[in-house]
């Protein structure tokens, strides 16, 4: 049976990793290639990089990072952030990433999902969704709204509808980030995650709110997630991936135990 995936995630700015808390006050904590190697050897099932480099003339730094990561680790990894065109996707995939993730670019221009899927295959295209609870309304029937710009801009799009539409357009996976839970370390948004996961036929990665192994257990069982993104709980050494995996294994969640 398929294992639930545990996926460490790094923000990368100007070629260095950071960890953002509520998308503010990022501080440099290391070299992405060395961190990728560390987590590869520590039993990560996949790695996610978000390029949060602000200026577009520094984008090629990230392509070089992707190339060096691909020479160092032999598990899948994806790159998101700043991907706006098919050409951006091509650069990242050719440099060695397994998948690319599109978020606000897809909200503004959903065609990038179908064009990307056509060019590179659905399995390469991850839809990143930033979602905030706003309460149910006529316009937002699920109560969850799509936001961009780190949660500052409300798009008037229902998150559930967007997930279903994106699957139809050809997204191969959804990385679902709860802005409400992100950075709190108080647990994933379980209702949101199960709502989306039960209504699409593609895998859903839960993101935002992980603080302890119990949170991963909850989102991988009650939350119906296929994978869980983790950041500060491992970056600061509070927990190890093997520790999280043995907790999950002991509680009956199937994980990859040998690496």
């Amino acid at each position: 049976m398929l294992s639930k995936r545990i996926i460490p995630c790094f923000d990368v700015r100007d070629g260095k990793t950071t960890k953002g808390i509520k998308f503010k006050d990022n501080v440099d904590i290391g070299d992405p290639v060395e961190m990728a190697r560390f987590y590869y050897e520590a039993g990560a099932d996949e790695i996610v990089f978000y390029d949060i480099t602000a200026s577009s003339d520094k984008r090629d730094i990230m392509i070089d990072v992707v190339r060096r990561v691909a020479e160092t680790i032999f598990i899948p990894f994806s790159v998101g952030g700043g991907i706006r065109t098919i050409e951006d996707m091509r650069k990242v995939l050719l440099a060695g990433a397994e998948k690319v993730s599109v978020n606000s670019a897809a909200v503004k221009n959903p065609e990038i999902i179908s064009k990307g899927a056509e060019a590179f295959g659905n399995q390469c295209i991850v839809l990143g969704m930033d979602v905030k609870y706003v309460g149910k309304s006529e316009k937002i029937p699920s109560g969850y709204e799509i936001v961009i710009n780190g949660g500052r801009t409300f798009m008037g799009i229902d998150a559930l509808k967007w997930a279903i539409d994106a699957e139809k357009l050809g997204a191969g996976e959804i990385c679902l980030n709860s802005i409400d839970a992100d950075g709190t370390c108080e647990g994933y948004a379980l209702n949101l995650t199960s709502l989306i996961s039960e209504n699409v036929g593609i895998p859903v990665i839960a993101s935002g709110g992980a603080g302890k192994p119990e949170h991963l257990y909850d989102v991988l069982t009650k939350g119906k997630a296929d994978a869980a993104l983790i950041a500060s709980m491992v970056h600061y050494g509070t927990y190890s991936i093997s520790g999280i995996k043995s907790y999950l294994d002991k509680n009956g969640v199937k994980v990859r135990k040998s690496w």
Binding site: D45, F74, G121, G172, D226
Partner: protein
């Protein structure tokens, strides 16, 4: 020299990087002469069967691969490379190379839902191999080892003798198939960590009898 066959099917550099990492020389090529000269062949790929077969035929690689097979040199198929060695694929209703008799079938979403509520397509992530028949490239395989899969279709050889390993995902499906000098995996050894690299290393040393 190992030839990694280039037919515009996804990221071949990851296979090349993995082969280089374990200490073997390889080239990515669609030149039939280079393929003819190579000692071993890796036939990788991601994408869809229809467009894969189109490129293979357009580049004249169908004959090159069949010739390599009849010459007896070791061939490793990966993912789509594994699927297109069969007779036929349900994906895009595609006639394939016919090196191993059988079809490529899609995971039937509804059946999978019934068997294991909520299973997703594609089958994406890490899963185990249940060994059905011993094979040199799987000589290091341990029960708990897992490999990275990403696919919505799987090969179903007609002859059970060609079945080397199976994997459970709602159903039990063939994940490693082999016949004479060809061995083919539905998973991606180049993305499967230490255990995947071990399979590539074994392939590089494999002498089919």
């Amino acid at each position: 020299m190992i030839a990694i066959i280039d037919y515009d099917a996804g990221n071949l550099t990851s296979v090349a990087r993995a082969v280089t990492h374990i200490g073997f020389k390889c080239i990515i090529t669609n030149d039939t002469k280079e393929i003819g000269k190579a000692e071993r062949i890796i036939f990788p790929g991601v994408g869809a069967a229809g467009s894969a077969m189109e490129s293979i035929k357009r580049l004249g690689l169908d004959e090159a691969i069949k010739e390599a097979f009849s010459s007896g040199k070791p061939i490793l198929g990966i993912c789509i490379g594994t699927q297109v060695i069969m007779d036929y694929s349900e994906e895009n209703d595609t006639k394939c190379l016919g090196i191993i008799a059988g079809k490529v079938l899609s995971f039937k979403f509804d059946a999978i839902r019934e068997n294991g509520a909520g299973l997703k397509i594609p089958h994406m992530g890490w899963n185990r191999i249940i060994l059905r028949k011993r094979h040199f490239i799987l000589s290091d395989l341990k029960e708990e080892d897992e490999f990275y899969f990403v696919h919505g279709y799987y090969p179903a050889p007609d002859d059970p003798a060609h079945l080397i390993g199976t994997t459970d995902y709602g159903i039990s499906f063939p994940s490693v198939i082999g016949y004479k000098n060809i061995i083919a995996t539905q998973f991606h050894p180049e993305k499967s960590g230490r255990q995947g690299l071990a399979i590539l290393k074994n392939f590089c040393a494999w002498k089919p009898c």
